[in-house]
Amino acid sequence: MNQSRADLIKLRRRIVTMCYRAKMGHISSALSCVDVLYVLYKNFLNKNHNDFILSKGHAAPGLYVVLNHFKHLKDAELDKFGTLGSALTSHPTCLVPGIQFASGALGLGLSVGVGMSLANKIKGIKNRKTFILIGDGELNEGSVWESLIFAGNNSMKNLIVVLDKNNIQASDYSKNIIKTDPLIKSIKKLGWNTVFTDGHDTEKILTTINSVFNSQKPTLIITNTIKGKGVSFMENDPAWHHRNPTEEEFNLAIKELTL
């Protein structure tokens, strides 16, 4: 087994464990995008070369374990997730070391990322990328489209948006609420470079990001993912957006997440 796979099994186990202990946290959303977060922090964010915003704030447990893995967040702090007085809430804020922006209300992160990228441009910092991770449900938000239009119009080439396309949002499959595929096609028409990859294959994620680094347009990387990835009974089930496992379910999940 390669290092990344081993790391990610460990990270998934930490996500499930900390959420089970705290009796909170959107486990399946975190499991959906933890591979992308791992690749981003391992290759692009570790030395503060680029900027990152988790726009789908409910995936915070995934961000916390990745920040901890790469030594931005101490074990002692991670262990306090959800406990009284801890800065580690179910949605992330800038009070947590390594996090620049407080998110939780959906649809806000992309605009802020556009502003950060614009700041780099004004300062004359070339090639510093701004990564923004958004959920597919977030594409329902009008504010996301305001920023997609602006970034496309202004050819903001240092903007890389990763869409965690797990086809599920809070209450149901996206296809039963607002269909995602036509929206993705529209984004291309707005002046965006769009590419697809497997959001659970770390090598493919890395190759895809590297392949768009010199794009002259802003890039949307659509990562096809499975919500709840890694725990069979959580996978692709909308009910697990909010649920916290019972003791029996927790033990089963840990068993599945063993090297």
Partner: protein, 308 residues
């Protein structure tokens, strides 16, 4: 003194250009207001008609330590982008200055969609933001200059059109946004007001002087942490207080003052004159509409006499 009228919107535009020349990192963003300022185009952006994106982008710039001035129509920015103001700006205490144009009912016949009678009330709920309520174009310019030097988000509330200038001559030096400005002393009643009603109150004061009534006029030039203690000192020095404001009086300065009275067990009377909690459903000039709401000079004079 000669009556001078200035347009706050135009004066603020000049000030933004000037400030961008002094503060080389200051960014200006408009929302379909590309004609507003002309210099420093490398730090000027127009996001189109998209208030949420306007505030979000400003937040991103401020996270990267570039201060931002945004401007737009008050009623659109504050209500449409309230979530961004709350989550993006106020939580992280970012240096973004929102210049709100056409506040109160100054857009008159444009109708209720363009009126803002709830902006101060809404923003009063939020931590960290300072609200500047300039009385005239001179105060508005000074408010922007002050806001650029402070940490955290600010809101500068201006109207539209030409307005008489209060802060000239002897008044000019009094203005300071760290405390309410006493623009006129008087022993009988005390009036707390802001915006263009400061000038109106000076007119009313002169009229009532001939009737033997002396009014102290306090310009509550901003709402921040300061008013509580300092306003309290002013209240207790008079037997009767009035609040006069071009905002819903239930949620604006009137509400803030009423709370002070209750919390401090002040037994003197407080009379609140402001916009009612209702939508304006008719056309008319700003002055005509203000008169209908008892906020014209004649009506204020009558209301004060009635409540003496």
């Amino acid at each position: 003194m000669k009556l001078v009228a200035k347009n706050s919107r135009i004066e603020c535009g000049k000030t933004i250009e000037k400030l961008m020349g002094i503060h080389r990192e200051l960014v200006h963003i408009t929302t379909d207001g590309n004609d507003y300022t002309h210099k420093h185009r490398d730090r000027h952006f127009d996001v189109g008609i998209a208030e949420g994106n306007l505030i979000g982008i400003a937040a991103g710039l401020a996270i990267k330590k570039l201060p931002v001035i945004i401007n737009g129509i008050t009623s659109f920015i504050i209500t449409n982008a309230f979530m961004q103001i709350r989550d993006d700006l106020c939580f992280s205490n970012l240096k973004v200055i929102m210049l709100g144009i056409g506040s109160g009912i100054s857009y008159a016949s444009l109708g209720f969609t363009h009126h803002s009678f709830e902006d101060i009330g809404l923003l009063s709920n939020l931590p960290n933001i300072k609200m500047y309520l300039p009385a005239d174009a001179i105060a508005a310019k000074k408010a922007l200059t002050d806001a650029v030097l402070r940490d955290g988000p600010s809101y500068v509330r201006i109207r539209t059109g030409n307005e008489p200038v209060v802060y000239q001559g002897t008044h000019a030096k009094k203005l300071n946004f760290s405390k309410p400005t006493v623009v006129s002393e008087g022993k009988d009643v005390i009036v707390f007001t802001y915006g263009t009603h400061v000038f109106k109150m000076l007119k009313v004061k002169n009229r009532l002087k001939s009737r033997g009534v002396e009014i102290k006029v306090v310009d509550v030039n901003s709402i921040d942490v300061y008013p509580r203690k300092l306003l309290l000192e002013e209240i207790t020095s008079h037997k009767k207080s009035f609040v006069i404001e071009e905002h819903c009086v239930e949620t604006g300065l009137g509400s803030l003052m009423a709370n002070l009275f209750i919390e401090n067990n002040i037994k003197t009377q407080l009379v609140k004159i402001g916009l009612p909690k209702e939508f304006c459903k008719i056309a008319g000039s700003a002055e005509e509409l203000l008169s209908r709401y008892n906020l014209g000079i004649n009506e204020i004079e009558k209301m004060i006499i009635k409540n003496l």
